[in-house]
Symmetry: C2
Subunit: 332 residues, 2 copies
């Protein structure tokens, strides 16, 4: 019935109970077909009776792999990452593995250590939007364990990567604004060291070739950051505000309402990384939807393949989609 004696139930206990060898029990556990049905049944019975669960540690040691994949994100509370992690985890689970999640709390200095620690437990690692220095990234990549980097490219480093086409997304935003007749826009920039931000800047400077003049203002990535930057943004003198993401945009929107500045009549506003609430603000936000779950799934598939030793070809950036809503209009 229950576990006997002290300590955990081991495979040996099951073997004794079923009057079989540990090898046989192991075979049943691992679905090896060459076991007599009667014996297999006895073993399964014993497993159930004793409430036996194989020790993950012992299995890992004997097999030489843990069946666990690691993910390191800068901030789990950011929907961008939690959606990615959810999709990644669900997809990985389909192939029978587990996921160990760590959060670096936006601390570039901690990233390296956490990743290193994660690698002791995991058979492979997904690094999301890492902010660590190139050298650290290179060192990790050469540790031997399969490593996949999401949303950060570095041509010099020969990393395996998956990412989203931020560049195209920002070009779409700029194109939309330009076609409406805007000529001077203000960009509220995101975190330094973020590849996503660098890509946005690169696209903005591309847009300048089309006659769009862009003023860049340091800002951040939260609603508070946006709220606090509103006055500076207005002072910069554009006809449209391009926010780093939807949180910043909603913060701006809130402050603009307090200041009596009408959106989009007095000034247009765009977000990025569409969040659920973007549809529900007043006015609803023109923004760019990025395939967060798609990225998570792609990462999972890619990492699983990497671990199977398959060589990965170049990976295209996932496409994004501009959603035009009420927060943008022709300049007055």
């Amino acid at each position: 019935m229950a576990a006997k004696g002290r300590g955990r139930v081991t495979i040996g206990d099951v073997a004794r109970e079923a009057d079989a060898s540990v090898t046989t029990v192991s075979r049943v556990l691992n679905d090896v077909r060459t076991v007599d049905p009667t014996l297999a049944h006895r073993v399964r019975q014993a497993i159930a009776d004793l409430g036996y669960r194989p020790s993950a540690a012992a299995q890992s040691l004997a097999r030489g792999r843990s069946g666990t994949l690691g993910v390191l994100v800068p901030d789990l509370a950011n929907p961008h990452f939690s959606d990615l992690v959810k999709a990644f985890t669900a997809t990985v689970r389909e192939s029978g593995a587990r996921v160990l999640v760590m959060d670096s709390d936006e601390d570039p200095a901690a990233e390296r250590d956490l990743a290193e620690d994660l690698l002791r437990y995991a058979d492979g690692l997904l690094l999301c939007a890492p902010r660590m220095p190139r050298a650290d990234l290179a060192a990790l990549a050469h540790r031997g364990t399969p490593l996949l980097v999401a949303n950060r490219r570095d041509p010099g480093l020969a990393l395996h990567t998956v990412d989203v086409d931020f560049h195209q997304g920002v070009l779409a935003v700029c194109g939309h604004l330009a076609q409406l007749g805007h000529r001077r826009v203000v960009y509220l920039a995101g975190p330094e060291g973020s590849w996503a931000n660098r890509e946005r800047l690169r696209a903005l400077s591309g847009a300048e070739a089309f006659g769009l003049h862009v003023t860049v203002l340091a800002c951040g990535s939260t609603t508070d950051d946006g709220h606090a930057a509103a006055e500076r943004a207005l002072a910069a003198g554009g006809t449209a505000l391009v926010a780093y993401n939807d949180f910043v945009a909603l913060g701006l929107l809130s402050r603009l309402a307090e200041l009596g500045v009408r959106v989009p009549d007095a000034i247009s506003l765009t977000g990025f990384d569409e969040i659920d609430l973007a549809r529900f603000s007043s006015p609803p936000l023109t923004t760019v939807a990025v395939p967060r779950s798609g990225l998570g799934r792609a990462a999972a598939r890619s990492l699983v393949r990497l671990m199977d030793g398959e060589v990965e070809g170049a990976f295209d950036a996932l496409p994004v989609e501009l959603h035009v809503r009420g927060s943008t209009s022709a300049p007055s």
Copy 2:
């Protein structure tokens, strides 16, 4: 310099390189003092030279514990849980352990299996707002591994629990509305099976004793749910809407704006579980702040103590705080 031969660098390789025994290397690794400084230095040098990392699996097996704690949440993308997980993880890490996170995707049927699986890897488990049947919860609790349940109480089950005082929070909301002069309110209910929702209902019926009449409408927990429920909520004929949480409230607010119903002039509105955006909506939301991070930290401390075999006393529900803002006023 680098790892030699095939496969991983083991403690034996380090011992050979440093001309010491594996025991000594193990001692250095585990900060046991009784090692000659010179030898210890040689060992550390060898570790660095070889790029040695102890195998987590081997350590777990030999030590009999994994140094890993599990957390199971219904939805990582919900800030309620991601904040909790972040605080839990950070606190646990201070005591040298790691955290394995799993997401049940709001599927009560999957919870039991995931928890069971988690227990094979972890020395202890935190179950957040579990929706599984009582019997499953009871079975898990009797598995032997330390188990802590957050935000679900069950007096018959003798569980170790930590939670937030939802009851008090909803009473505060109702008291606030009653004092403003409201007599008929509509409650937009959250997920069935959620203890948080049951506690809210319990508080609402308590408030009826004070003459507040409450109509309960099934709704959900997302912005979409709130948006979709607005017409029904208006039809229910109250002077105030009490939403299950801030997402529902913001969804309602958005739809009410579309319908031309002014908040709070035509109808008052309250949220719950204050999110960042609550301050920034128009009007800003009257809501209840719950100590998400505090709960995560409390859970971590409690679980660590449980694992040290310390018997836990009863745990008080963490206090919450009503934040009155522009979305509530006296009925017209």
